[in-house]
């Protein structure tokens, strides 16, 4: 498979990664490169382990095999304090936002600053307001997380993720469950933050149009393997059945509509069983 991204220019590189959950193989010897300053998307059907990949990169899970390097550090060889230092430079946007529910919006964004810096409150205030302004929610600083819509919660979480000015941000399904306006706002934010702050972004998503609109490079993963990779244009023109099924949203194809089961007729005729 042609790997057009050179490893030297990549901030994150995943080499020969294998990972299983129980008997299910989530990743089977895959390699990916995430270039500095670019938006790289990982796409694929639900349940292909896209979130797991982000947790592996963040050092929250351990691979069975393979190496993950972030900015020259082998994530799984680092000592705990070194890993925590690296994580200060990695932002992550969780699907749910993962805001702390006992704090208001302002305190949520201020949380990493208060935990990791000794800045005076006046400076923290300025920084928090700047981050909130960047996501357009400076006016919502006094609201509690339960008073926010899903889209707002994600934008607040994004403000929190950039609070410490990280070198990269990992987005876990940023568009899922969002209305078109929120989706548009998030697409715009991811793109503009990446450019303005000079970030490296990894976007995990199954929203084809939104992701293709902003990504510089796309990997399509299915059943533990990379089934396609390239620029959005190359992906759209791909001849791979897997990629075509995913991009066009066909119900059946290489990824079957039916979950594996025994023969339908046999199943209906086997009486006396509860399930």
């Amino acid at each position: 498979m042609d790997n057009s991204v050179s490893p030297q220019s990549s901030l994150v590189s995943v080499k020969n990664l294998s990972f299983s959950r129980g008997n299910k193989k989530i990743f089977d010897d895959i390699s990916l490169e995430f270039e500095r300053g670019k938006i790289t998307a990982i796409m694929g059907p639900s349940g292909t382990g896209k979130t797991t990949l982000l947790k592996l990169i963040g050092g929250q899970l351990f691979p069975e095999k393979g190496i993950i390097n972030v900015d020259g550090n082998n994530v799984h060889r680092l000592r705990r304090s070194e890993l925590y230092n690296l994580r200060k430079r990695m932002g992550m946007l969780f699907q749910s936002g993962a805001l702390l529910t006992d704090m208001n919006v302002f305190d949520n964004v201020a949380f990493p600053l208060r935990e990791h810096t000794h800045l005076p409150e006046s400076m923290i205030r300025t920084l928090v307001l700047m981050k909130l302004q960047a996501v357009g929610l400076r006016g919502a600083r006094k609201l509690m997380p339960n008073e926010l819509s899903g889209g707002m919660a994600r934008r607040i979480a994004l403000a929190r993720a950039i609070a410490l000015d990280p070198m990269m941000i990992m987005y876990d399904e940023p568009f899922t469950g969002q209305d078109p306006i929120s989706k548009g706002a998030l697409v715009h934010l991811i793109k503009s933050l990446n450019t303005i702050l000079g970030l490296t972004s990894i976007v995990v998503s199954h929203d084809v149009h939104e992701t293709a609109a902003i990504a510089d490079y796309i990997y399509v993963i299915s059943e533990g393997k990379i089934v396609g990779q390239g620029s959005p244009k190359e992906i759209q023109q791909s001849k791979s059945d897997w990629v075509q099924q995913f991009m066009t949203g066909a119900a059946d194809g290489p990824a079957h509509f039916h979950y594996p089961a025994k023969d339908y007729i046999d199943d209906l005729l086997s009486t006396g069983k509860r399930y």
């Binding site: 947790k55 963040g58 929250q60 925590y84 230092n85 994580r87 200060k88 990695m90 932002g91 992550m92 969780f94 699907q95 749910s96 993962a98 805001l99 702390l100 529910t101 949380f111 990493p112 935990e115 990791h116 979480a157 929190r160």
Partner: protein
């Protein structure tokens, strides 16, 4: 038969694995104590929600338990003409047993279940995971302050329970049933020993506070992150805490008062 043995083996293995995880969790929690002590505000906030918010249930329950003790004690003691010693009976029962035990059971029901649900939901909503990714150790930031708060609040709540109970006993004994008020207090002062009764009661409540907080926090942290998982974990907190408190009470009582 083989299936039964397999089932038994599997259950034993699961229990021991859980005990191992629980012990590891406790060690991690204890290792965060120093960093919490340097940030007393975190601790005070938790002492408010674990301790101060349990104030009402402890006070009201203590009052009623003391009143019942006064009533029952009077009926028995008056048969022997010994109603003057009602104060001793009420105070000894409360300080040695009922104070630490009932306060700990109430603590497990009110504060323990709340802690489990809170931590379990934080896990389910990825707040703990999110904290890890922000390079903040959730054990030090979330668990240890709550553990310390529970551990420190429990002896205070037990003391409050006993104190209010003694007043309740006096209200019923002297106020309603006519036991001499001076005798109620004087007998109590003469007969109750600081070392044997009060200190032992405090030791019990410290142990119960330690165990109840550990169980509540571990069950939350170990919960399966779904609504059903959190609900089961909350139930387990109350049940396991009750068993542990009552079992430990027997052991501690045997050790403390065995040679009397």
């Amino acid at each position: 038969m083989i299936e039964f043995l397999q089932h038994l083996g599997e259950n034993t293995r699961t229990s021991f694995t859980k005990l191992g995880r629980g012990t590891f969790f406790l060690l991690q929690t204890l290792s965060g104590i120093l960093s919490v002590l340097t940030r007393p505000r975190l601790l005070l906030k938790q002492m408010y929600s674990v301790g101060v918010l349990s104030f009402l249930i402890i006070t009201i329950s203590g009052l009623f338990v003391g009143m019942v003790l006064g009533l029952q004690g009077y009926y028995i003691l008056s048969d022997f003409g010994a109603e003057e010693t009602l104060g001793v009976m009420v105070a000894a029962s409360l300080v040695r047993e009922l104070g630490p035990v009932v306060a700990a059971l109430l603590f497990a029901g009110r504060a323990g279940s709340a802690l489990t649900a809170e931590i379990g939901l934080m896990k389910a909503t990825e707040q703990l995971s999110g904290m890890e990714m922000m390079a903040v150790d959730p054990i030090k930031r979330i668990i240890t302050p709550r553990f310390l708060a529970g551990f420190l609040s429990m002896p205070l709540l037990a003391a409050l329970f006993s104190a209010v109970g003694i007043i309740g006993g006096q209200m019923v004994g002297s106020g309603l049933l006519g036991v001499d008020e001076g005798a109620y207090w004087a007998q109590m002062q003469t007969k109750l020993d600081f070392q044997d009764d009060i200190i032992n009661g405090v030791i019990k409540s410290i142990v119960f506070g330690f165990v109840a907080s550990w169980i509540a926090l571990f069950e939350g942290y170990d919960a399966i992150p779904t609504s059903e998982g959190v609900s089961r974990a909350t139930t387990r907190t109350v049940v396991n805490s009750a068993f542990s408190i009552l079992g430990l009470d027997f052991i501690l009582t045997a050790l403390m008062f065995g040679d009397n």
